[in-house]
Symmetry: C3
Subunit: 434 residues, 3 copies
């Protein structure tokens, strides 16, 4: 396995892939040093604020758990060989396992051992955050070699009062209203789920930081579920400023795109995602909201009901590598990351530029030809795309239609319409609606 992509990627894709490769070895969880170190490395690229929330803090119906840290873990057979070894893959330990060091019978070991019969060479990823127990995950293929009656089990972990860490990056725009980009950052050595989301979010943040922006932007790097619940509990009023948002997950594999709609289902971000993916001219699917998935579950809970969707390529649970050791550095591709970045960029750009305009010459069409905006020779069968874009913008700019409305109705790309609108503004034929 090599961290080098097979084909030559562009710079952004390569940077995103490199960040994934850098973060891959760390043993992250919903708390602890792996998560903390991940946030510090992100901080080297964008100046996030790292928050530390004490264990025991009440966050709505939940409580911030004790902090979990782990140094080593293994199962030794009677010959003393580390037959299951945390040093080889941090997936070998059930995440949040309590410490243990004693001999156990084969029967007891098997009761705490998780494998994938259908994928005998892959290690599954399992967690037990809120029920204190211990466990190992291993390749199903090793079961046959467990012939000893007794094994030495070691998990050198700790579960103690500490903190839950999360990262936050805020970019102020012209408007106080915000667009949220959130990604969970609690998974250990898994690349698509969700180092891919982290790396795309980091690159988006760097790009938006240096661009004009109408809206403000907030990036969250948080542990799944407890992280978004903690953030919402600490920022209940601020959450009302979130106009639209998106969770990023599984955006590094080569599958076609999947956009999961917000609970409200037909908000501008839902329509914009559909528009951008449709005009990418590649296969994609949009799926309705469901209360299972990533942190959109919390953002879309009934008391918040924010316009937050989820962008993925292959969808969680629908690809065999999901939550296994096969979700590794070979499974994600720089090219796929680049496409995901581009789709996000188009989506955010659309939301930032979307507006309603008012036609200042609404009685019949204005004469575009005398302004050099329309070809002077007539009789052809059709107009050019930019002419059509101007005609559509003029026809529907009655103050009731945004450019996204016009894009949907005309089936023209948003950016072509946006450009047409700017030209018409510059000829005093159009103005942005106040």
């Amino acid at each position: 396995m090599s961290a080098q992509p097979v084909s030559t990627p562009d710079d952004v894709g390569f940077q995103m892939y490199q960040l994934i490769a850098d973060l891959y070895p760390l043993c992250r969880s919903i708390t602890g040093n792996g998560l903390r170190e991940t946030l510090r490395r992100i901080q080297q690229q964008i100046s996030i604020v790292i928050h530390e929330v004490p264990s025991g803090t009440q966050v709505f119906d939940w409580t911030v758990p004790n902090e979990w840290n782990i140094r080593d873990a293994c199962v030794r057979n009677k010959s003393g060989h580390r037959i299951i070894d945390f040093q080889k893959s941090n997936l070998h330990v059930v995440n949040y396992s309590a410490p243990i060091h004693r001999n156990v019978s084969r029967k007891e070991l098997l009761e705490h051992l998780y494998t994938l019969p259908d994928q005998p060479e892959w290690i599954p990823y399992r967690t037990s955050y809120y029920n204190e127990t211990w466990g190992f995950c291993a390749q199903h293929s090793i079961l046959g070699s467990l012939k000893d009656e007794e094994y030495e089990v070691l998990i050198d972990s700790s579960l103690r009062t500490g903190h839950l860490s999360y990262g936050e990056f805020y970019l102020r725009g012209d408007s106080e209203e915000e667009i949220l980009i959130s990604c969970h950052s609690c998974h250990p050595s898994l690349c698509n789920d969700n180092l891919s989301g982290i790396s795309v979010a980091v690159s988006l943040a760097r790009e938006i930081e240096r661009s004009y922006r109408h809206y403000s932007y907030r990036f969250l790097f948080i542990p799944g579920t407890i992280g978004s619940i903690t953030w919402l509990a600490r920022n209940e009023a601020a959450a009302r400023k979130i106009k639209w948002g998106i969770t990023l997950a599984n955006v590094g594999d080569s599958g076609s795109f999947t956009y999961k709609k917000s609970r409200r289902g037909n908000t501008d971000i839902d329509r914009a995602a559909d528009h951008v993916l449709k005009h990418s001219r590649k296969p994609y699917q949009t799926v309705p909201f469901s209360p299972y998935g990533y942190d959109e579950r919390q953002f879309c809970s009934p008391a918040f009901n924010l316009a937050v969707g989820c962008l993925s390529r292959s969808q969680y649970g629908k690809f065999p590598e999901y939550h296994t050791s096969a979700d590794n550095l070979e499974f994600v591709k720089p090219e796929a990351l680049t496409q995901s970045f581009a789709v996000c960029r188009s989506l955010l750009s659309l939301l930032d530029n979307n507006a309603a305009y008012v036609n200042l010459q609404p009685k019949c069409e204005p004469q575009l030809g005398k302004r050099g905006l329309y070809r002077t020779m007539g009789g052809y069968s059709s107009a050019q795309e930019r002419e059509m874009a101007m005609l559509w913008v003029l026809n529907l700019s009655d103050g009731d239609h945004t450019l996204l409305d016009i894009a949907e109705r005309s089936d023209l790309p948003f950016n072509v319409l946006h450009e047409a609108a700017q030209i018409l503004v510059s000829h005093s034929l159009l103005k942005r609606k106040a």
Copy 2:
């Protein structure tokens, strides 16, 4: 032909079939002793009230007609043989025929004789309620044997001042609002149309009588058209309490289900019927309202416009046995009756249990795991159906969504969601909306 079903039916199916077999020989019409006797036999099973409305009573634009009774009818050839004989099938006489006893020419007989050229061995069912005439129905195959020039025609019937009879069974629930179940009871020896509707309605009434019910229930056993018009004319104010209703017709054959929507088209009963049939996982169709059909025509007339649909298996007029002697005891099946009963039971249960709930922990998800409502080991690809049901109920219980709304959106069966709601109520996470 045997009244015994081929396969062993369950008890309910067998009881329904037995009632059909018991009522089959009676010569029913829209008035008269056949109808009256039918109601008396129903009264042996459920304590219906039998109403008698005098001939001549004005009911909206109609008038209750004279009562029709018949004792015998036949056509004799010159040898004195009863070549068409009411004693063999009461379908042989045009229903509501005026009395006659005289010799007629073959020509005159043929003008009063109805047959089915496409089904030469079946007797058609014909009526002439509101135009006094006489007539016979016969197998088309006998036409060739009518070689005599003259025939003796006897219809020993009477059309005299009397009553229109109908049966009514009312079950009071917690609420005054009512669910109506109506079936026409005026067809002579025809099993699917509509002894099947009568028998399913009787079994439903017995079942609901012994169950908790939120709504009140009203069952009507009435002659078609004039019966529902009479009931509505006599109960104009009471009809406003009918929240939903259904007419039952042709529910005993082996065809797939047909639900005909109410005039309003998207009421809860229309949506509930679609939901129940969809989750029955058998083929079915829903068809839009039309002003032709059964008594839903009257319940859905513009001044009432009640939410009344019609449940059938094969639809009226769409199966060859319809309104012929082939709609007999072999055409209906105990198994089909049982399925129809089950669909009706699910439909009424859904309507009775449907409600909106309020999530008492609407800020993010409540922690189901600490209440033992969610598995504690994480990392699997999907949640279980009961976990999904709880998540859906919590997510959409903002007071605006009923369980039926949630069922439609989640594509989960209503009863699974209803059960999830009860569990959440018992954990104080949810309450029924006032």
Copy 3:
């Protein structure tokens, strides 16, 4: 080529075809004597008012251009032969060409010469109304024979202050509200686009003139774009009386019908056109509004937003003969014109007769049988179309549904429902809603 149709047409089709044949040779443009003469010939059939608007008149964002007239044009080779000759086809000159008479090099000639490489024997139709230039159109096949280095170019035209002419025909109905029929009249020797529209409009006007009409009707014979803009600028207040309208274009070819919806998309004329075409039982398509096309562009501009659609058979730009010399007297057919006339007649008749009615016996069905409106023998599988039409009209005539609503819901033809409504009115069961 013969002006005689191949098959024997009916009278209306033949009249329409004859008008096309009569107008075909004239060299029309958006101003000038060709247009003026066209209007005079129309005036011989219906008493249109011919308006003359002076050059230089400001009409919204546009200015009425100088009047263009042309007497002759040709390109002569060094032998003096008229190798491109306006006398053979007026399409040979770019419409609105400025006068020129001088020798030009082959290079310069080619820069002003338009051909169709894909259709080498057809002459294209090109215009340059608002950019003063000169040009010729020719068969692509002649390019090879242009071997001389120099050519004599003659365009004996004039571009001088004058008038823009258009024709208007108004028929007052019971109501001041208007239905508009508009067709552009500025194309030279092109039959489908748009002599077909002119001829169908003329026949419609003659037909409606001698019929009862609820609405008032306005027919416009105008040059494309500048004509409708001029009319709207001069009749801004009057335009508010236009309830519905249609532009007619390309209604003479043998293609299937195309109805382009108004900007509002679901007005009565949009629904009526769909209904009429659907019940014509021939293939057709409806297409959404787009701001490209004919004068519906102006009528549907945002400040007017009138309910104006466009009826065509083959759609502009979608058939190879479009804007070429192949759009000639052989391309249009009397039969096709007759069908177009019939569709328009049905459409206008529907709009004129559409109304909501009120059922005067809304409690249950009235007894149609006792009024002789329903067959008295019962038991058949279905009702007849006229019986169904009465039942539908009675059921939905609650004052909220027009006959068009009922037609859409029942899938019965409008005229059958309209007839049923008249019968019910005559029996005092229904009245037209005030």
